[in-house]
Amino acid sequence: MVELTEPIDVLVVGGGNAALCAAITARRAGARVLLLETASKDLRGGNSRHTRDIRYMHRAATEFVTGAYGEEEFWQDLYSVTGGATDEALARLTIRESETLADWMAANGMRAQKPLRGTLHLARSNLFMLGGGKAMMNAYYDTAAKLGVQVHYETEVRELKIHDDQFVSAVAVSAEAPRVIEAKTIVVAAGGFEANIAWLKEYWGDAADNFVIRGTPHNQGRLLKELLNHGAKPVGDPRGCHAVALDARAPKFDGGIVTRLDSVPFGIVVNKEVKRFYDEGEDFWPKRYAIWGRLIAEQPGQIAYSIIDSKALPHFMPSVFPPVEAASIPEVAMALGIEPRALGAVIDEFNRSVNGGRFDPGTLDDCRTEGLEPQKSHWAQPIETPPFYGYPLRAGITFTYLGVTVDEHAQVVMRDERPAKNIFAAGEMMAGNILGKGYLAGFGLTIGSVFGRISGREAARCAGF
């Protein structure tokens, strides 16, 4: 580790989007900033390296977004996905402050691109980064280095020394050597705890062993727990996590976007016992996207199987793994490792109950089953055109909701409702204040960027700048 030659004003813990926004802002204010990232340089950037687009308020179309997206519409979208599990003051602050984000991001090296093909539903509200989140993080790290932010990789903060709600120092470990780092203020932007399987087990039991973690293996929640142990006020459902249906062959960590699978509405889904368990045709993406992870997590062995025929193939984005393919249903079942006769029976029953409506993947059409339990309420077509395909599915955890409470200065609020003197939080570890449940595409980056900037500014101010 490089020895620190001068005292640190702002210590930033974490290496994702929120951390970089904080470090850059604090450094621009004049503070001496040290940023500690657990990952290696190649794998830096936390979950931000897997992101793709950011939701932000804007009054008019630009080269990269197709139209205006105002405060009220933004707020309504947020309110509807959270069902009210949000702090309106902080949420509106986030929305209003997001208006300047596109310019800020560009000024710090981010390059935008036109919405990707197949993302029409986000083309108006969300800005897409050229090359995605890792390219944006590369730009931010580059900007931070040019500004003089010190960055140490492969350095994990294990412990915080806090006295009377005041941060004193942090114990950081690099190459197995612990050392104490003092700073006037600290910004903690170290993510949620979704990669900590043992912690997930507290709520999910052994089922958590079968979860796939879509992002960085470094989000162990160590700093979140540390702050909570020091008396920070928790926010968000501790059991809550955003889970989506993934291809079961995905790597355990860091699979990112390419392992997600959206074949569900175009066929049937059975569990290990070869029983259907939910209406596959209930709703569109993103509502469908948000519930299937949890549905699979609740099945025996936390696994499910999506079965489709060749008619369905053109209707969804391919995952990175090719489906199991066979000329008959029993062969698909055998390839997937489930009981062939049972699957044949389920599909026969399903095919008999299909009403023969007019199939239209673009609307909630009138193709449904009759007399079948559970019903498939839209896009129900007989599974009869070979070849047949099967995908194994697992629950993929994107992020957790549990966090620490913050105020409008990004200052961490303690259990007695008083803000900690010099402790600030940004990103996933405080997102639960604003997104208490549900999912809004590109909004995690919004919260991270807005509160990253606020925390950087306020921490620098607290340190005398």
Binding site: R49, G131, G133, K134, P251, V320
Partner: protein, 356 residues
């Protein structure tokens, strides 16, 4: 590449990704086409969340340059000479040195050393050392041979990648591809420049490549004008310093000199992880040869009224002979396949727009 197709974050960088997304499965022909659309900017490599050390280990620039090297070997003719691409630097060096030695031997045996080392002043001094027929007939033959090989390569490429014949008479597609080629549009890397030589964005590669590209064209123009003077106006080289061939040649030579040194420097500094060693070897060989060609050409111009002229002329002609003999068996061929791929892309994208 199924990973890229499921991710699509890099769509805005270059033509490869939009072209890739129009396919779900990739035949060998598709890969050949995509590889020649790739111009090795490496933006996608540094942006890729799945690049090594990620377990997926996605490295598109490396894969593409391997496939391009395959293209160059497979589509050339005769097949027996495709091995020249394999140890390209060695092959280029041997051929060039041999050419110099042969020319030197011929000059010495037919003209004698007196002529070679004398100071020549006045008109047609070059032809006193190397007679007119000897200086023009073999290069013309070599050039014709080169064009024939390029033509065969282009036809094979077009056929292999199943390009529609009608596209070849599609003026707007040809125009679009020509614009892209002459502007070196994609070297801008979606606006930021290439990740070259390493992870930071830079436009230096584009500028150096422009210098080489237009330097080469200027020299080609200089030769054409000189040939015109000679055949139709009866003016014989060497020409005055302020004549069109000399001005064009000097500009081109200087451009080549700076451009090739710049590109060599960038290659030297470049990150090897996203690179393919046989392609790098080919790049270096071609750049060195361009550099030596323009250097000897400029020296010849500067010292043409001194006793060094004869020797320099022999060396320069030898190097030029080496350059043109190896032209169809070295990095120059990227011009052919890349242009063909750009035409194919222009056609395909227009069809996609019409369909949607």
């Amino acid at each position: 590449m199924t990973i890229c197709n499921a991710c699509r974050y890099c769509e805005g960088y270059c033509a490869v990704f939009p072209a890739m997304e129009q396919r779900r499965v990739f035949t060998k022909a598709d890969l050949t086409y995509l590889a020649n659309l790739c111009f090795d900017c490496r933006d996608c490599y540094y942006a890729c969340q799945y690049a090594p050390p990620h377990e997926f280990g996605v490295n598109i620039p490396k894969l593409m340059s391997e496939l391009r090297a395959d293209t160059y070997r497979e589509f050339t003719c005769p097949a027996i000479l495709s091995g020249l691409f394999k140890r390209n630097a060695l092959a280029v060096t041997v051929i060039t040195v041999t050419a110099i030695v042969i020319i030197l031997a011929l000059v010495l045996s037919f003209q004698g050393s007196d002529v070679l080392f004398a100071t020549h002043l006045g008109e047609a001094t070059f032809y006193r050392v190397v007679p007119f027929v000897a200086m023009t007939a073999p290069p013309s033959l070599i050039a014709l041979y080169g064009f024939a090989i390029f033509f065969v390569g282009a036809v094979r490429f077009w056929r292999e990648t199943q390009g529609p014949i009608t596209a070849l008479v599609d003026p707007s597609a040809l125009w679009r591809a020509t614009q892209d080629a002459f502007g070196l549009a994609y070297l801008k890397g979606g606006g930021a420049g290439c990740n070259y030589p390493a992870e930071n964005f830079s436009r230096s590669r584009m500028w150096y490549h422009h210098l080489v590209f237009y330097g080469f064209l200027f020299d080609f123009a200089a030769t054409t004008v000189a040939a015109f003077y000679d055949h139709f106006l009866g003016w014989q080289a060497p020409y005055p310093y302020l004549s069109a061939p000399v001005i064009l040649g000097t500009l081109g030579g200087v451009g080549l000199l700076i451009g090739s040194v710049g590109l060599l420097y960038l290659k030297w500094r470049s990150d090897r992880d996203p690179a393919n060693s046989s392609m790098l070897n080919m790049d270096m060989a071609f750049l060195v040869l361009l550099f030596v060609t323009s250097l000897t050409g400029l020296l010849l111009l500067a010292l043409r009224e001194t006793p060094a002229m004869g020797t320099l002329l022999v060396i320069h002609l030898g190097v030029v002979a080496g350059l043109f003999i190896t032209l169809p068996y070295g990095k120059f061929v990227h011009v052919v396949y890349r242009y063909a791929a750009l035409v194919r892309y222009a056609v395909e994208q227009r069809q996609a727009e019409t369909n949607s």
